[in-house]
């Protein structure tokens, strides 16, 4: 009870808190349904209790904040309902509709004691968040960006975002590494958390690492599996979905669950659902390359063989034709040669005959000419002989002429002799030797 000290009514702290406690318990007798956000769940695994920090915000402004208690048994009951219905555990940052008593504790002060949380409300909130992400991505016009990328012809080099020890990753490796066609893939693990709120940051971080190594990779595979269906709401996160949508190379997902597709899967280039299917998808791409390759090979062999066969056939035909034409021509040639031989013989003979007769004619002409010429000469000779006879001194002497000699030398000029010279006159029947009496030279000559 209060006491009076120096005219003042003084209460002890306990009295005040008791009074508040009394007032509050009288004023707030029942439990209330309250819409709020669990800012921090503050779960203590050791005790099993939670001391959630509740918030109401408008944008970034905090409108109200409250501490709450969620005792172990209530927490376990609520959490299992959440996992069953939302496929999510109770966690930080979710909107909830909770049922709580408002209570005042003399030591711990004012708080809400949570006795129930409606999982369907949170489901709706999660769905709302998911829808919001979709709407935002669509409004920004980037929802289909990753899907519209050109998928590499041969997705050989895969950057994998997964957990080393996860069943999903080992399922994927099993299919990829032991494919019976011997297709060789190169994959590199970028380890990341794959569920819960931290997974967003972790995956985005690894995506950024891969971005730095882009030339080394053809595609990114986000592989999760074996983790059940809990904790997937982070894949509806706007930031993560945006990173995926805007990623410069195709992202394929194998997150492995059977509930509704998450936004991240929607914006991925391809959602294979399970890691095994994702591996099959990649192998199929190799088939898509390998089969036409085999077909091309077969076609080339077939067409080449056909061309060669047909060309051989043509060639053989040509040889046959050639042989035929050749023998035909040869035969014709022989005939021509024979004919030519006969002709040559014939014409040679003619030519000989002609030439022979020409020669004969020339000979005849020549002969005639010779005879003529001889005759003429004979006549000439005869005439000359006659002339010579005429000129013969004997004949001249006979005609009365004489030859005058002086000392045996013929004289035909008066100057050659002198008076009293002894001269000899040769006449036809002898000589007359005489002495010169007088020399008379003809005048006027």
């Amino acid at each position: 009870m209060s006491e009076i000290i120096n005219d003042r009514k003084v209460f002890s702290l306990r009295e005040v808190s008791l009074s508040i406690q009394k007032t509050i318990s009288e004023r707030y007798q029942s439990s209330y349904w309250i819409k709020t956000e669990i800012n921090k769940l503050n779960y203590y695994p050791h005790s099993g209790h939670c001391y959630p920090d509740l918030l109401e915000k408008e944008g970034s402004t905090i409108l109200a904040q409250f501490r709450a208690n969620l005792w172990k048994s209530d927490y376990q009951k609520i959490n299992s309902k959440f996992i069953k219905i939302l496929k999510e555990p109770l966690k930080d940052g979710i909107s909830v509709l909770l049922c709580a008593y408002i209570q005042y504790d003399q030591v711990h002060g004012l708080s809400l004691r949570i006795i129930d949380i409606d999982p369907f409300f949170s489901l709706g909130e999660l769905e709302k968040e998911k829808q919001n992400s979709i709407i935002k991505l669509k409004e920004e016009g980037i929802f289909n960006n990753n899907k519209l990328l050109k998928f590499p012809f041969l997705p050989k080099r895969i950057a994998i975002i997964s957990v080393e020890t996860s069943k999903g990753f080992s399922d994927f490796k099993k299919v990829i590494d032991s494919n019976p066609w011997n297709y060789k893939f190169f994959y590199m693990l970028f380890p990341s958390l794959l569920q819960g709120e931290k997974s967003v940051e972790s995956i985005v971080n690894q995506l950024n690492n891969i971005k730095k190594l882009l030339p080394h990779f053809d595609a990114v595979a986000i592989i999760r599996g074996g983790g059940g269906e809990v904790g997937l709401s982070s894949y509806n996160n706007y930031q993560l979905a945006k990173e995926i949508a805007l990623f410069p190379i195709p992202i394929i997902s194998g997150i492995g669950h059977s509930t509704n597709e998450t936004v991240s899967e929607m914006v991925s280039f391809y959602n294979a659902i399970t890691p095994t299917e994702l591996a099959d998808f990649l192998i199929q791409k190799f088939h898509n390359f390998s089969i036409p390759l085999k077909n091309a090979e077969d076609r080339i062999i077939e067409i080449s063989n056909r061309m060669l066969t047909s060309e051989n056939q043509n060639f053989e035909n040509l040889i046959k034709q050639f042989k035929f034409s050749y023998s035909y021509m040869l035969k014709g040639g022989y005939e021509n040669i024979n004919l030519l031989t006969v002709n040559i013989a014939k014409s040679s003979k003619n030519k000989f005959q002609q030439e022979k007769s020409k020669i004969l004619q020339i000979y005849e002409n020549l002969k005639r000419l010779c005879i003529n010429y001889q005759n003429i000469n004979i006549m000439k000779l005869l005439s000359i002989e006659k002339n010579i006879d005429l000129l013969n001194p004997e004949n001249i002497l006979k005609r009365g002429y004489s030859i005058l000699l002086k000392n045996g030398k013929l004289i035909n000029k008066t100057s050659e002799i002198s008076e009293y010279d002894i001269i000899t006159n040769i006449v036809a029947d002898g000589e007359i030797i005489s002495k010169v009496k007088k020399i008379k030279k003809n005048t006027g000559e």
Partner: protein, 69 residues
């Protein structure tokens, strides 16, 4: 194989050769050349299917230098 042609190019070139052959645009003189080229391309493509080119250590080196810079 010294050729640095990538598999997309190799495959496309191969398809062109097949098309030419299909359409009988290749003369018998070119045939041997074309078939030889096709064999090279097929070999390239096949080797792409079964070869590994990347090295994790190299990539990690790149990543580390990237982060350091």
């Amino acid at each position: 194989m010294s050729e640095t042609i990538n598999y997309t190019e190799a495959f496309e070139e191969l398809q062109i050769i097949v098309n030419e052959l299909e359409k009988a645009e290749v003369s018998i003189d070119e045939l041997s050349e074309k078939v030889k080229r096709a064999a090279v391309l097929i070999k390239i493509c096949k080797s792409k299917l079964i070869a590994t080119e990347e090295d994790v250590n190299e990539i990690l080196k790149n990543l580390n230098s990237e982060i350091a810079s």
